[in-house]
């Protein structure tokens, strides 16, 4: 089979067509919405296109790496991520009141972004390594591996990212077979410790939760984002006001409308029908991902594919929930829709891993 095709064609053979189409459709919608939200700002649009090109290229590259090689970078990537997080805690740059960034002169970088992929890779590698001798000890160690970056990111403070990283770790443990009774017990314990956690939250984090309960209490301050985005979505109605015709978005009422609040623009301009379509597209991505997981030949592939799929929709849920006013404002972008290079690269690297798992069918034992 090989030999006749060119180099590029061989590379492209590792793409999953269904995932690819879904991703391209979502990116197409994103381009349209960002163009509208930015007021057809050419630099925003070209920037978005450049990000997409870069992220898609990386996706193709990762899709060509066999899973057994991907599993090998789990540990070093995780270790590097944790070291950088410690570095952030010690030397990090403070922006908007929290210490999240490492400045390398040429570029500033959020190490927490790295952990979004490094943690599942690390855990999946760990569980695969101990596939035959799995015991309580391994879950415990895995739990510690999750908690370590979780706590470091929580302390930055960045509640949103910490929750997302924690969720990805939990999903992996869940798919790795964490016993129900442990989960139920842990859940009960977590619920019991909520008051304690509340006290550990920073003032601004507490305010965000309170604002969610009653956004009208502070309409010009913290509640402004939520009020304006719900007005945008609600005024969109069944069919929306039409592309580039949303008054809330076009007249600057929606803050952060190309990034975190892009769904408000989408909801205003494309309405409930558009929202159903968008959620359906996301569900299709998840369904494809879970089906890849179900058919994956290795433990590593199964765990990675299932975890990334669930994680993908968790992002969707947290972002849309936040923009439509049922979750606190935590600064999580909408997958494949929000403007922003880092998030797009991370997401498409994840899709690349899914494709790699889907297209490398031979069993590779470590």
């Amino acid at each position: 089979m090989p030999g006749t095709d060119g180099w590029l064609m061989r590379r492209l053979r590792h793409l999953d067509p269904i995932l690819l189409i879904l991703v391209l459709v979502l990116l197409g919608i994103s381009l349209a919405v960002v163009a509208s939200a930015s007021g057809q700002n050419p630099s925003r649009i070209t920037g978005h296109l450049v990000n997409m090109g870069l992220a898609l290229t990386l996706m193709v590259a990762v899709a060509n790496v066999p899973p057994h090689l991907l599993s090998k970078i789990g540990l070093p990537l995780y270790a590097a991520g944790v070291v950088l997080l410690v570095g952030v805690a010690l030397f990090g740059e403070i922006r908007n009141g929290s210490r999240r960034w490492l400045d390398f002169g040429v570029m500033a970088f959020q190490p927490s972004e790295l952990l979004k992929l490094a943690l599942p890779l690390m855990l999946a590698w760990y569980f695969q390594r101990n596939e035959t001798v799995r015991g309580a000890r391994h879950y415990l160690i895995a739990g510690v591996l999750v908690l370590l970056p979780f706590v470091l990111i929580l302390r930055q403070p960045d509640l949103g990212t910490a929750m997302m990283i924690g969720a990805s770790g939990f999903y992996l443990l869940f798919f790795a077979g964490l016993p129900w009774k442990v989960m139920i017990g842990g859940g009960t314990l977590a619920a019991g410790s909520l008051p304690l956690v509340w006290n550990l939250l920073h003032d601004y984090q507490q305010r965000r939760v309170l604002t969610l309960i009653d956004p009208a209490a502070d309409p010009l301050g913290a509640g402004y984002h939520i009020i304006q985005s719900t007005i945008a979505i609600g005024s969109g109605g069944l069919f929306g006001k039409g592309w580039m015709a949303g008054t809330q978005s076009q007249l600057d009422f929606i803050p952060e409308r190309t990034t975190d609040f892009v769904f408000a623009v989408f909801g205003e301009e494309f309405g409930y029908v558009g929202a159903i379509l968008l959620v359906a597209l996301y569900l299709a991505v998840v369904a494809r991902g879970l089906s890849i997981a179900g058919r994956a030949p290795t433990q590593f592939g199964r765990l990675m594919a299932a975890t990334l799929s669930l994680n993908f929709f968790t992002y969707v849920f947290v972002n849309v929930g936040m923009v439509s006013g049922i979750l606190p404002v935590v600064g999580v972008p909408l997958p494949l829709m929000s403007y922003g290079g880092t998030a797009l690269v991370t997401l498409l690297l994840g899709v690349g891993i899914l494709m790699s798992v889907a297209t490398h069918r031979q069993i590779n034992k470590t």
Binding site: Q228, F253, A275
Partner: protein, 629 residues
């Protein structure tokens, strides 16, 4: 790989697939939550959010209408508008209010008074409201500020229409003034549903005609419907409703007559109301002292306000409207008419006045102002000599109830209905009133002094003028009116405001003629005010009076020369002229003037002279006519 291990793996795989299904269900549940929420926002609450998005997007930018002008009867301007530049500051936009003020102070002169006023206005307004710091900027100041505006955010130079009262302090009690709309005004506007019409207005009528004709003077606010973005910047205009300017007012009042009257008061304080007895038109309405109404337009500074408010001369009180005094002897002509009309007296009935009057079975002596008495007194003489004992006796014969009912027909004890707000209704005592107010029975002695307008009696100069006008016009009830006509700003047509007909009182002309003769006698040689009529080319009918300021002990004598001026009686005088065909009726009250004939009657004469013959007081400068427009 061992068989056991494979079996393990199979079980492992089955469990994994089970968990995938759980995961899929979880994702489905999350998706459902999102779609339910979106359904709630976009379908259930759609209307609500459309409304909110529209109110976000569309803002109404109000355009304040030009305020109507006020003219006197000859078209001389009393309240005008002029355009000038004003420096205004929006606190929320400044980079620190104090530094901005200091910077502005370096550029142009800001007086301490302006600064104080600014701070007071600031304390009353919201952070994002624009507050004037200095108005009527010179061209040079405008240029300096315009050049430095870029480095002082929050300051603005705006062209605005200003109100100016050119007629001076003498007209302050008539025209009143406008002032900045405060929270109380806003509440009233809101309650009457007029607040929308004041969206673009900073000022509202506070007193005088500015207040009572506010609705006509203000006009209708226009609105530009603008599409604005989140920062409030207008993107485009959607529609426009032009403002409708306020209506102009023309008064019955003659600015020069007013000036003559005021001048005639000399150093004295007091009030004067002159009416056209045929229409009720107010020809002059003086309350001395006046004040400069221009001080109030953009907020008065606290010191001046304190000074005006705490001055013992009480310049802010409109004496003509709200000053209540015992009418004293000025009600005697009306009492005489009541006696005739009620059949209690004939014109020729004469009584002996020994200088005092005592009720039957009482040793208390009610004294006449003339200790030795007037001798035999009939009705005409009782008026011309102002005989107290005649009226003591008449009051007792009449009784307080009939007295109250008859005097009430001439408007005493109730508001005249003049087109100014906060008029006082005075007090016309009655048995029923005393029971209600004091929970006490009426004493016969109280009837006696009520007969000469003392005791509980209280009346405003305006009420006395209206009463006099009714004596002059034969019982035709009038409602005093300052505004004679209203001009529509669009059609420029003056629309007269006709007098409100309030009916004709049935009076026997013969009875009225006797009383009028008595009032003429007052001004004839031998009458109490004869000196003030000397040489007049027209006949005056009048009546003097005094309103007691300090109580005189039984048996003691009132001696004006021995009292400090502020303890002297208030002098009263009512009159109309020409007696045969009255064209003007007035009431004068001179605070601490002593006697009506001495201080009040000469003022009335000066007013009559000017109104009827055009003669000015000899020592009066011609400054009032400068205001001719």
């Amino acid at each position: 790989m061992s068989f056991a291990a494979l079996k393990d793996l199979d079980r492992e795989l089955a469990r994994f697939r089970g968990r995938i299904r759980v995961g899929a269900a979880f994702v489905g549940l999350l998706a459902l939550v999102l779609l339910v929420r979106a359904y709630y926002l976009q379908v259930v609450r759609h209307e609500h959010y459309v409304e909110r998005a529209e109110s976000n997007r569309i803002s109404l930018v109000p355009t304040a209408p030009n305020r109507g002008l006020i003219f006197d009867r000859r078209g001389r301007i009393l309240a005008e508008n002029y355009s000038a530049y004003t420096l205004e500051i929006t606190r929320a936009q400044t980079r620190g209010l104090e530094t901005t003020l200091a910077e502005v102070g370096k550029l142009i002169e800001i007086t301490p008074g302006q600064l104080r006023r600014f701070r007071r206005l600031l304390a009353e307004s919201h952070e994002f409201e624009t507050v004037p710091l200095k108005s009527k900027l010179t061209d040079e100041e405008v240029a300096i500020l315009a050049a430095n505006r870029y480095r002082l955010p929050g300051i603005e130079v705006k062209a605005r229409l200003f109100r100016n009262y050119r007629a001076g302090p003498g007209m302050a009690h008539v025209v009143g003034y406008i002032g900045r709309i405060n929270d109380r005004d806003l509440k009233i506007l809101r309650e009457s549903g007029r607040d929308r019409n004041y969206k673009g207005s900073a000022h509202i009528g506070k007193t005088g005609l500015e207040q009572s004709y506010e609705t006509l003077l203000h006009g209708r606010t226009g609105f530009d419907q603008m599409e604005t973005d989140a920062s409030g910047r207008a993107v485009r205009m959607l529609s426009r409703v032009s403002p409708v300017p306020g209506k102009d007012l023309r008064l019955h009042l003659d600015l020069e007559l007013q000036a003559v009257a005021e001048h005639a008061f000399g150093d004295y304080l007091g009030g004067l109301v002159a009416l056209d007895p045929n229409t009720g038109g107010v020809l002059a309405l003086v309350s001395k002292p006046g004040f400069d109404p221009n001080l109030f337009i953009d907020g008065i500074d606290p010191e001046t306000w304190k000074m005006l408010n705490e001055s013992p001369e009480r310049p802010m009180v409109n004496r003509a409207l709200r000053g209540i005094y015992p009418p004293g002897s000025t009600i005697k002509p009306l009492m005489a008419l009541a006696g005739l009309e009620l059949g209690l007296r004939k014109p020729a009935d004469a009584f002996l006045d020994p200088g005092y009057y005592s009720l039957p079975n009482s040793r208390h002596r009610f004294r006449d102002w003339k200790p030795q008495g007037h001798g035999w007194v009939d009705l005409r003489r009782s008026i011309s000599q102002s005989c107290d004992v005649y009226y003591y006796r008449l009051a007792v014969d009449m009784g307080i109830d009939r007295m109250h009912d008859y005097l009430a027909k001439f408007g005493l004890g109730e508001k005249t209905g003049i087109d100014l707000d906060s008029e006082s209704s005075g007090l016309l005592p009655s048995r029923e009133w005393k029971q209600r107010r004091w929970k006490k029975a009426w004493y016969p002695g109280e009837t006696v002094i009520a007969g000469i307008g003392q005791g509980y009696h209280l009346a405003t100069p305006l009420q006395l003028a209206a009463m006099t006008a009714m004596l002059a016009n034969g019982g035709h009830r009038i409602e005093p009116r300052l505004v004679e006509a209203v001009r529509d700003p669009v059609s420029h047509v003056w629309q007269p405001l006709p007098p409100t007909p309030r009916g004709q009182l049935a009076i026997d002309p013969k009875n009225l003629a006797v009383v009028r003769e008595g009032m003429l006698d007052v001004m004839r040689p031998g009458g109490t005010a004869a000196a003030s009529a000397a040489g007049a080319p027209y006949a005056i009918a009048g009546k003097t009076g005094t309103a007691q300021v300090v109580g005189i002990k039984q048996g003691a004598r009132y001696d004006a020369s021995r009292l400090a001026r502020q303890h002297r009686d208030h002098a009263l005088f009512i009159a109309y002229a020409p007696a045969e065909k009255p064209a003007i009726a007035l009431a004068v009250m001179v605070e601490n003037g002593g006697s009506g004939s001495g201080t009040a009657a000469p003022i009335a004469r000066a007013v009559f002279d000017f109104y009827l013959t055009g003669k000015r007081p000899g020592d009066m400068k011609l400054e009032a006519s400068d205001a001719r427009d």
